[in-house]
């Protein structure tokens, strides 16, 4: 009975961990993966070392289309694995906790990997390897079972005795139950804490991505605000996407920390990599730069193979561009993957019907901000969604002007920012823009003449400068101390945010990887 109690506890906690704690991470891993029954599509993976194992792992990962189902599978797999280890090792009572160790090691490994579970690495590893171990354990257990078949009668006699005595809860037994329960609990809390320590951004970042998949832009903003103090550049990118869709880009962008500390990730060859392109496809796409998005999608397709993520973007981009044949091709490829019927059902009717493309809220929003003049990607600073808007000089829509002005604020390019502010003369600019203007108003009084309403913010600005003064020589500390009080206030970002000098690098990171304010 005790054994089943512990097993059930273990099972439930794994399920909780794999579906709730890691659910969004694994859901995004599923999106960055692809599996089909077609040999042509899987050839690139099949021919890699252990390709068959990665295909198997990807097949299992499809269960994470619904994290609760994927989590259930992981719980079954790890619980069965732990039980099989017990069978194989024939552990005595007091060493029974050992059987949980491999599962905990796997959980610790997933926590250590973070984004590398799927980004620039094979997503099939995460479930393929433990499943293979499970199969091997099952075979070993079968062998062990046969070897010890002779002694089974003797063993069952002992177990019966244990069962009969286990009905009596002695103090030592209660202590053992408590100890083992605590041990199992620790098995989950340690990987969970380790994940939050090593990759604090991981869960909010992937949660925002899942919310983006569900067109939940308000939810994305909420998630970013809830984790405002651990913002990273990738979170900032998705946050900007959400704000651009909810119309709050110019008054909420600086509400979260916009640092670019190391994410402790590595590239295709195991070299430190700062994931700078992780969010670029999404951000380029929603910024209307579908050509730049396509550029990175195709590079991703080349280096990481087809994934639902890159294939779906190719469908959307082709639809916006009116490349019907290409859209049809990518839809045909996506159709080969299981569980993607909703996507096909939504986008297939748009092929050949631009009116339907324009009627889709997501695609329509992108079409609205498509570039309006001929320019080349290479002429702008990377990433495109920032470089293009920093350089933009023709504003055919109010959004274009606002995005460009905010991009200049983010990049701290104040002369360019001031040029764009001419478009706001005679109106009340959004809060971040007004705050940016205040910084310059002291040196250029003509700004106050053009924007007399800025005077309302002078007292706060002076208060901020008083608070900031002690920290001007220690920006890192100033950033920490003043964040809660001044988050969302542009002068705070201007003086303390997104700075190379306060960036926390990765061990062994190359100097040339240290991107400055971009």
């Amino acid at each position: 009975m005790m054994r089943w109690l512990f097993t059930s506890l273990f099972f439930l906690l794994v399920w909780l961990w794999a579906s709730w704690w890691m659910g969004d991470v694994m859901r995004i891993a599923y999106e960055r993966s692809f599996i089909a029954a077609d040999a042509t599509l899987m050839h690139w993976l099949w021919q890699k070392s252990f390709g068959w194992l990665w295909i198997l792992g990807r097949a299992l990962l499809t269960l994470y289309r619904w994290p609760i189902v994927g989590g259930l599978f992981v719980a079954v797999m790890l619980t069965a694995g732990s039980w099989l280890i017990g069978v194989c090792l024939r552990l005595p009572q007091r060493w029974r906790w050992v059987r949980y160790l491999p599962s905990v090691c796997w959980m610790l490994w997933t926590a250590k990997e973070g984004l590398n579970l799927f980004y620039m690495n094979e997503p099939g590893r995460v479930l393929g390897v433990p499943f293979l171990v499970l199969v091997v354990l099952a075979m070993l257990a079968g062998i062990v079972g046969r070897l010890y078949q002779g002694g089974s009668a003797h063993r069952s006699g002992i177990e019966n005795k244990q069962c009969s005595t286990s009905k009596v809860f002695t103090p030592s037994m209660i202590g053992r139950v408590g100890g083992e329960s605590l041990l199992i609990f620790l098995c989950f809390s340690i990987p969970a804490f380790y994940l939050n320590y090593r990759h604090p951004y991981l869960r909010p970042l992937t949660k925002m991505q899942v919310q983006l998949l569900n067109d939940d832009y308000e939810g994305m903003s909420r998630t970013a605000h809830e984790h405002a103090s651990i913002g990273c550049r990738q979170m900032a990118g998705y946050y900007a996407v959400a704000l651009s869709r909810t119309g709050h880009l110019a008054d909420q962008l600086f509400d979260i920390k916009l640092e670019f500390d190391s994410l402790h990730t590595y590239g295709f060859q195991g070299e430190p990599n700062e994931c700078l392109n992780y969010h670029v496809i999404d951000c380029n796409f929603f910024a209307g730069l579908i050509r730049a998005a396509r550029h990175y999608v195709v590079e991703d397709l080349t280096m990481s193979g087809p994934s639902l993520y890159n294939l779906k973007y190719m469908v959307k981009i082709s639809l916006i561009e009116g490349d019907w044949a290409l859209a049809r091709k990518y839809l045909h490829v996506v159709r080969q993957a299981p569980f993607e019927g909703d996507f096909i059902e939504k986008y297939e009717p748009m092929v050949g019907h631009f009116d339907r493309v324009q009627a889709d809220p997501e695609l329509a929003a992108v079409i609205k901000v498509l570039p309006s003049y001929h320019t080349l990607e290479q002429m702008h600073v990377k990433p495109g969604f920032l470089g293009y808007y920093v350089d933009l000089k023709e504003f055919k829509t109010r959004e274009a002007l606002e995005w460009s002005t905010v991009a200049c604020l983010y990049a701290k390019r104040m002369p360019s920012f001031l040029q764009r502010c001419r478009g706001y003369v005679g109106s009340m600019p959004p809060s971040s823009i007004a705050e940016g203007l205040l910084i310059k108003a002291y040196a250029e009084p003509s700004i106050l003449q053009a924007f007399p309403q800025l005077e309302l913010g002078i007292s706060r600005y002076e208060l901020f400068m008083q608070d900031a003064k002690p920290y001007l020589d220690d920006r890192e500390r100033g950033g920490e101390v003043l964040f809660e009080k001044y988050k969302g206030y542009y002068p705070y970002y201007y003086l303390f945010g997104n700075m190379r000098s306060t960036r926390k690098p990765n061990d062994g990171e190359q100097e040339h990887n240290k991107a400055g304010v971009n």
Binding site: T40, Q47, Q269, L289, R291, V298, M303, D323, Y388
Partner: protein, 510 residues
């Protein structure tokens, strides 16, 4: 183990064709338009080509029967027609120089329907049996898995000539490109290796070795080139190539040369020399006439703009903005096959006069036709949707006033999308073409008949056993080249030469 899996998959695929298919005895004629992929309707095909399997799409149908002459084949709901190779061969042999009627019957709930038949026109002339090509994702700046392959056109066999590494390996990654053969024979071939283990792999029969072309007087190692038809000589272009991406333009990318010259490599003596070494002109895509007495090439004049001499970045930035004024004409140079000397250039196609740009000249084996692509600007027409195939009849009297007068487009062969890199068959009756007509992004190999009157016929997609193959393939076909025999060197030998031998530096001859 993988071979066995493929074998099993192949067997499964083979069982797709229902051998027991019989022509329906009762059916109604339908005026519905027939939807098949690939669209093989009314194409001219070689008598030795592999079965032209195709897919029929009819939402209301549950099974199909197709007849090609006497050949009868069936398909299930997926509509995939997989013809029996032996029966196909017999039918084609019988039909040489004639037309074959193709009838498609679809079984709908209301009964069998019969579509309007179409034809396969079977030519008298065969196509060279081997097609080599490179498969690569249509990526722009990165690459991972790519390889050069050899397809037997008479069946569906594909052999690997060389594949690079299957996964990212530090210090190993290399790109391979621009494979070429001498006069349709695989005895002499070359291809380039870029980045790690860089060089040019040159073969002589069953021997391969790696060379490097590098000298202060040469811009860069060889790029696009062509073997002399008989001598151990290769004319290479030497280019500094770059690309940029449009944010808002009908075309997506432009590939251009910052500078380019033409060099001559002597494979026997491992020597190299400049043919053109100019700063105001961009020469590229050299190719020889069938008899080897003329060298054809493209040339564009550098647009006029001010820049600081020696400041390549400034030069390139300004050149990029003038990319659409890079218009290439086709020229030829007489070549003395004894002294290895060149004469004076002659303008062959004055494309720039019509504000157009010509590229990839290839002379037919009988020396009569010059096949090339024409587009709006530049020389890398793979990204130009208006790129079309043109020919010039070289037998007509040369008119220095109007050198392009005998040029005309191959209207029936061209498509609204990109029709670019091309090669002749050794009998001059077939052309293999790189085209993006399927979807605009993925280059596919098309084959077209070129008749004795100098007209190209409707092109057809390289047939595959599974007609759905090209719909699912996420790679492009590059540089299709025909040969009479298979490559004689194994991928392992190439791998050894590329990864484990030191290259020989070609000696520069001023």
């Amino acid at each position: 183990m993988k071979s066995y899996v493929y074998l099993i998959l192949s067997v499964i695929a083979l069982t797709g064709c229902s051998p027991s298919a019989t022509i329906p005895t009762s059916f109604t004629e339908t005026s519905d338009s027939l939807a098949i992929y690939p669209d093989y309707r009314d194409v001219t095909i070689p008598p030795n080509i592999a079965p032209l399997n195709f897919m029929v799409t009819d939402a209301a149908a549950t099974e199909y029967v197709v007849t090609v002459g006497d050949l009868v084949c069936g398909a299930g709901k997926d509509g995939k027609i997989d013809m029996d190779s032996v029966a196909w061969r017999e039918v084609l042999t019988e039909a040489k120089g004639k037309s074959l009627s193709v009838n498609v019957y679809a079984h709908r709930a209301s009964g069998w329907v019969h579509y309007s038949p179409f034809t396969f026109n079977v030519a008298e002339e065969e196509i060279d049996p081997y097609l080599s090509y490179r498969l690569i994702e249509p990526g722009y700046e990165v690459y991972l898995q790519l390889g050069i392959y050899e397809r037997n056109l008479t069946n569906f066999d594909v052999k690997t000539i060389y594949e690079n590494d299957r996964e990212v390996k530090s210090g190993e990654g290399h790109c391979i490109n621009c494979h070429q053969f001498q006069n349709y024979d695989t005895k002499r071939m070359y291809f380039h290796v870029r980045e790690n283990h860089g060089g040019t792999i040159v073969t002589q029969g069953k021997e391969a070795h790696k060379i490097i072309i590098k000298h202060d007087s040469i811009i860069a190692s060889g790029a696009y080139g062509g073997w002399h038809p008989t001598l151990p000589l290769v004319a290479f272009s030497s280019n500094k190539t770059a690309q940029f991406f449009h944010y808002h333009f009908p075309e997506k990318i432009e590939v251009y040369d910052g500078v380019s010259d033409i060099i001559l490599y002597d494979a026997e003596h491992n020597t190299v020399r400049n043919i053109f070494h100019t700063s105001d002109y961009f020469e590229t895509f050299p190719t020889w006439s069938a008899d080897g007495t003329r060298l054809f090439y493209c040339v564009a004049r550098l647009p006029k703009f001010e820049y600081e001499q020696g400041n390549y970045n400034e030069y390139e930035a300004k050149l990029v903005m003038r990319y659409d004024s890079l218009l290439y004409d086709l020229y030829s140079l007489p070549f003395d096959t004894v002294t290895y000397t060149f004469g004076e250039p002659r303008l062959e196609v004055n494309a720039s006069a019509e504000n157009r740009s010509a590229s990839v000249p290839r002379v037919s084996p009988d020396g009569r036709y010059l096949l090339y692509t024409l587009a709006r600007c530049g020389q890398f027409h793979l990204y130009h949707k208006d790129a079309d195939l043109w020919v010039k009849d070289l037998t007509k009297e040369y008119d220095s006033e109007e050198p392009s007068v005998n040029s005309y487009p191959l209207a029936a062969t061209n498509s609204p999308d990109v029709d670019s890199y091309h090669a002749w068959s050794s009998n001059g009756r077939w052309m293999v073409i790189s085209s993006r007509r399927d979807d605009g992004d993925f280059t596919r190999t098309y084959i077209a008949y070129f008749d004795k009157q100098g007209q190209g016929h409707r092109a057809f997609l390289l047939p595959q056993r599974d007609p759905e193959y090209n719909l699912l393939l996420l790679k492009s076909y590059n540089v299709p080249e025909l040969t009479k025999n298979p490559v004689q060197i194994s991928p392992e030998q190439f791998k050894h030469v590329i990864s484990h031998t030191d290259p020989d530096l070609a000696t520069y001859q001023p």
